[in-house]
Symmetry: C2
Subunit: 321 residues, 2 copies
């Protein structure tokens, strides 16, 4: 939540000169996204977001993300649509960073998604998967199971300091997910968002108005995207599973794209895997952030408590399916 | 440049229910101002800024700032105008903080103000002073000369570590300004902004479109406001005085409100005092910010080099008057 790179008004004016967007009327750094610098940009032609990609973004991945959002926008799925300059380029450079201008999406992120918002999220997740069915970009999931041992290694003591016995539990989660991996590869794969937390989704009232922040998008099991949503939308106050919200997500999803039986069977292990992924990346941030940093990282414990739920789940029915 | 307090969508909806602004269509934390949390807020009725006042703001000062901006807005001087709720209150509470909704101003802050922007700034500074001539609010300048010894005390070594000999020079500046204080009290006083850096001013192209961030506003010498502008607008790359820009600021100001001869005489000491004020507050931030903080404070040295210029100035003519 920060602006890392400042853009001078002169640099902005020169940059905008290459687009058919008119001149800037307003330009403000916004606290959206954690990895890049984002600016609210208003011109004669409307409202936009200007994103500058900071060091953590791999420049080689950017064309994939641009193509993905262009594909979604062309299918009328509401997302930030990259705007091409006069020569047709969407990826540009500004202040020494890769940069893109995208359309502005109305809407607010729900702090505590309602059951009807969960249902709408499920529906729109399935719509997004369908819209991406003929997208031919491919990107490996850099935070998939193969990455977890290296995230975990050396952080066992930190986990133990957060909760006694947690280290052994995480080991068992890693083994359980690894053991089931062959099955999960047999379920339908495609392009997924992989980070569809409520923070990355906008609503106007109960109406879904769009998804943002596609920078973890990758090629993986479609039902894993639903598992990420179950973890981030259906657990209340970071702990208690809300069965109605889980059921709303799944039935909303299935109203557009019914799950195959193999996907339903895989749901508990996918949910456990998704919780592990967020537990581990939060644990890394927790360990690596200096104690006196301005921004404290989110606690990994929210995901440790979700993992406790997933360990006991035996079927998709436990999630409301 | 940060958002310190998060506002949930539910809290925002409840808060907006007390206004005639319709419902929220967009809500984003923006990186504007260094002391408070600011949000871009769009509703059915238009665009606004929602400000939450953080700890450094003295709640007792807030009614003064609100009244000042309401006064300016009523006089059609472009500034963020506080919006009253259905019961006529402008200062409210949200997420445990004093909060206000103000109108949104179009425009961009100039990174390197042009000479014509300097002239326009001078004109509009004088217009602001005239619009405030009948404002009856009073607030002492908390960062006036009386505050400087306590800001300075104990930081002599830090100054010396920035530049050998700087400590003695600052002592001489403090003495010189203190010695001239009786004169500067005889010049016209009124309500001043006291922090009109280019960051706090918007332009659309060369056209002044408004001033923001009135949270240092106070009752002091009018020409001190011009001295703050000379320091922050007419020195290029933080060092070199640009005579044309100084002349543009002063002649722009005088095209609306001619300076009295006592004000012209006081200009060098006012400029020196303004540079001291920003040198000292930056020195405090420099000393008090941990080395590994995410946001490095601005270097006090930019103002040490301005002080070197002011020490040699003998009359307003040195600034382009």
């Amino acid at each position: 939540m920060a602006v890392y790179t400042r853009v001078s008004d002169d640099a902005l004016a020169a940059f905008l000169g290459d687009y058919d967007l008119g001149k800037a009327l307003s330009f403000k750094g916004i606290a959206e996204g954690v990895e890049n610098s984002n600016y609210y940009l208003e011109t004669d032609q409307g409202r936009f977001i200007l994103t500058l990609f900071e060091r953590r973004a791999d420049p080689q991945d950017l064309p994939y993300f641009m193509a993905l959002k262009q594909h979604l926008a062309a299918k009328k799925f509401p997302c930030p649509a990259p705007i091409a300059d006069k020569e047709g380029n969407v990826l540009r450079e500004l202040e020494g960073r890769p940069a893109v201008i995208v359309t502005f999406l109305d809407g607010l992120s729900p702090s505590r998604p309602s059951t009807s918002q969960c249902r709408s999220m499920g529906e729109n997740l399935a719509r997004m998967h369908e819209a991406l069915a003929d997208f031919d970009g491919v990107r490996a999931n850099a935070l998939g199971p193969a990455s977890w041992p290296s995230l975990w290694h050396g952080r066992e003591e930190t986990a133990e300091s957060l909760m006694e016995g947690l280290s052994g539990l995480i080991e068992s989660d890693l083994k359980a997910v690894a053991a089931s991996k062959p099955q999960s590869l047999e379920i339908p794969r495609g392009t997924i968002h992989a980070d569809l937390f409520p923070d990355n989704v906008f609503f106007i009232g109960e109406q879904f108005s769009g998804a943002i922040d596609f920078y973890f998008a990758c090629t993986d099991a479609l039902a894993y995207d639903l598992a990420v949503c179950i973890n981030s939308w259906a657990f209340e106050d970071g702990k208690e599973f809300n069965y109605s919200k889980g059921a709303a997500l799944i039935s909303g999803y299935e109203s557009v794209r019914p799950l195959e039986s193999a996907e339903r069977d895989a749901l508990p292990v996918l949910c456990r895997g998704a919780a592990l992924r967020f537990f581990l990346t939060r644990l890394v941030d927790w360990t690596d952030t200096p104690e006196d940093a301005l921004v404290r990282p989110k606690s990994p414990m929210e995901y440790a408590t979700r993992l406790a739920f997933h360990r006991k789940a035996v079927s998709a029915a436990d999630y409301g399916a």
